[in-house]
Amino acid sequence: MSSDLITMDDLTNDEILELLEQASSLLPVARGESYLPLLQGKVLGNMFFEPSTRTRMSFETAMKRLGGGVVNLGALASSSVAKGETLYDTMRMVDGYCDVAALRHPRQGAAQYAADACEIPILNAGDGSGHHPTQTLLDLFTIMQAHGRLDLNVLMVGDLRYGRTVHSLSHALARFGATLTFVAPHALGMPGEIVKHLKEDGANVTESEDMLGNLPAADVIYMTRIQKERFPDEDEYRKVAGIYKLSRADLGKVKESMILMHPLPRVDEINPDVDGTSHAHYFEQAFNGVVTRMALLCRVLGVEVKT
């Protein structure tokens, strides 16, 4: 792979599987059961121009579990960004301070732009409604951990139009032979361009507005939040908010091995009464963000992880 991770296209299938294997071997370190300072002396720049909880914290945790340091952009209001600094200037500065940077930005293409501006590896932590490849890695890891393979029936539900996690994940799963079913209200369907590319790549793709009817065949159900912040106005948001909700009562006919995932935060898509079932994997999924980002940080910084 190149030293940057902008989209999943920067990784071959073999490289993805190798990363997942390395992540697996780092599980005891991620849990704090052993200490492995592979990245001692290295500094990660956590550049979050948009709110983030899990991605930012798991990058920071990953770096610290491996003995490295982290510097944060901090609140935008108190940074030079509020004074009108360009992304280019901010990233050139970080290029001098850090060995690697994770970047989240509201504008699509920001990660590639930053990669062009910097010498250090840039890890895309979400760019507008574009890509979120490190989320994809932890999603793939979670599926692999539960099923041992990726060529499965995967049902994606919710905001598929603006949800960058499902854009990246669907591309990656298609490469591993998964069958994809997209369930979304018409206004929030998977962008036509993405569906077209997936089909051109030979993926088996079905689109529907019916969630309940598609539950029984699924090996993986990937719920997403309708993202209020991506809507141009409140009225449009209200039309579709809360349209898909899963509760324990809906899971009667699902496969026993089915895992339920969600990139979090959730609002009301998954009722808390599902949390106690064997299907609920979203908190484990969130934890897996640490271990996959540990493996990725080692890789882009040229540090070998023994599997």
Binding site: R107, Q108, G109, D127
Partner: protein, 155 residues
């Protein structure tokens, strides 16, 4: 009707032939020929062409367009043929070459692309995905570009 020259021969400059019919004004815009320069510019539109049925022709006097300038035309006139004229004779023939990437030719058509943010200094970059028909995508955001919109977004 006898054949007559619609535009006279030029002494020095550049002749761009086989421009797709009706596109001459866009070509001038791409070459940043606005008409305020002092050199004469002639153009004919929708004249018969044995190759393409109809075509436009542009003659720019006292200015030799560079290969870099001409390559910008790959976006709308990839089959244009270009002659550099010196002392009423064709001194050089040039072809428009479609590059793998077009730098600072057009802005991305996706309004939320980082390349459209205020004062960002890196160049606008379009990758050529396919040449027939021409398909472009933004180097930064990766979005496929609607060609009609790209023409509106020329730099």
């Amino acid at each position: 009707m006898t054949e007559m020259r619609r535009v006279t021969a030029i002494c020095n400059g550049t002749v761009i032939d086989h421009v797709p019919a009706g596109h001459a004004l866009k070509v001038l815009r791409m070459l940043r020929i606005t008409g305020v320069q002092s050199s004469p510019v002639s153009l004919v539109m929708n004249v018969p062409s044995s190759k393409y049925g109809a075509k436009d022709i542009i003659k720019v006097e006292d200015r030799e367009l560079t290969q870099d300038e001409l390559d910008r035309l790959g976006l709308i006139a990839p089959h244009a043929s270009v002659a550099i004229i010196r002392n009423y004779s064709v001194a050089e023939k040039r072809e428009v070459e479609l590059q793998n990437e077009m730098v600072n030719v057009a802005r991305c058509t996706y309004s939320n692309c980082i390349s459209l943010a205020d004062r960002e200094p890196l160049p606008h970059r379009m990758k050529v995905i396919d040449s027939e028909p021409l398909q472009l995508c933004c180097h930064y955001c990766g979005r496929s570009q609607d060609m009609d919109s790209v023409i509106e977004n020329l730099i």
